[in-house]
């Protein structure tokens, strides 16, 4: 043990030097064999969600009286003041943009990480 113990960096250097490389020796393949298989792929999940959405829309259409509510809403909008319509339009636009930006940012973060 000839190295000088007074040297502040001596211990750090020694600890760093004494970290031997551990041979893989089948470790990675053992871990790989244990990896779980995901039950549903992303494509399958998208198709499933789309199908559920279409079915839900059809059911909602039938339950709502075959689309008569559309005419009701149009009539409601027809008697509405123009300024209120502008506000609703701008509000909807901002909401959709905000939601889109939020999902785009979270998606890009996930990909970058």
């Amino acid at each position: 043990m000839a190295a000088p113990l007074q040297d502040e960096d001596w211990l750090d250097a020694k600890l760093h030097d004494e970290m031997p490389y551990i041979d893989d020796d089948g470790f990675t393949s053992r871990v790989s064999q244990e990896l779980p298989v995901r039950r549903r792929s992303p494509k399958m999940r998208s198709a499933f969600l789309l199908s559920v959405g279409v079915v839900a829309a059809v059911i909602a259409y039938i339950v709502a009286g075959g689309g008569s509510f559309v005419m009701d809403v149009l009539g409601w909008f027809a008697v509405m003041p123009l300024s209120v319509l502008y506000i609703i339009t701008i509000g909807c636009g901002l909401l959709v943009t905000a939601v889109g930006v939020f999902f785009a940012v979270s998606r890009s973060r996930k990909v970058r990480s």
Binding site: M1, F27, V111, S113
Partner: protein
């Protein structure tokens, strides 16, 4: 051109690519197993079991990896938590605490002179000081990264590293005098 850890993680996230994850395991297995061997005081079998558990947990929870820290830092955190959970289970099961968990001597650490002395002195440190010294002085993590791994305040990490280093120096100086 070799892919970065971030590229491999992205492949796992987007395509559930087992090969990409295996490459991550291959890259980090030595560091993770080394850390766990030192935490378990060279109980090789236990350390490798915990390392396997660490990588499986990492795979299952890879969506929670945000890339704010290095992938290796994230792995160390999982490894440390796995070790703590195991130590707690053992304490509950057989009534022994962490300081009594002496393992079988790892042949790789059996070496003459300084190396053996250093490893021996390291194993005498309390867990919190040993872990802080290992992460910062051996694995090259910054104090901030070690604080994230150990989930303790930055000041506590600095204190633990300082105390651990002082004790190591003292132990090795005593050996030198003998």
């Amino acid at each position: 051109m070799s892919l970065t850890d971030a590229d491999l993680v992205a492949r796992v996230l987007l395509d559930d690519d087992h090969h990409a994850f295996s490459e991550l395991v291959r890259r980090h297995q030595s560091a993770v197993r080394g850390l766990l061997r030192n935490l378990t005081r060279a109980d090789v079998a236990l350390a490798d079991d915990l390392a396997q558990e660490t990588f499986l947990k990492a795979y299952k929870n890879i969506r929670s990896f945000r890339g704010e820290a290095k992938f290796s830092t994230w792995l160390y955190r999982i490894a440390y938590n796995s070790y703590r959970e195991d130590a707690r289970r053992r304490k509950e099961l057989v009534g022994i605490d962490e300081t009594q968990l002496e393992g079988e001597q790892d042949p790789q650490t059996v070496n003459p002179a300084l190396r053996q002395d250093l490893m021996y002195a390291l194993r005498l440190l309390p867990l919190h000081e040993r872990t802080a010294v290992l992460l910062c002085c051996q694995h090259g993590l910054t104090h901030e990264e070690a604080a994230r791994v150990l989930d303790i305040p930055l000041g506590t990490v600095k204190t633990n590293v300082l105390r651990g280093r002082e004790k190591l120096k003292h132990s090795l100086a005593a050996w030198q005098n003998n």
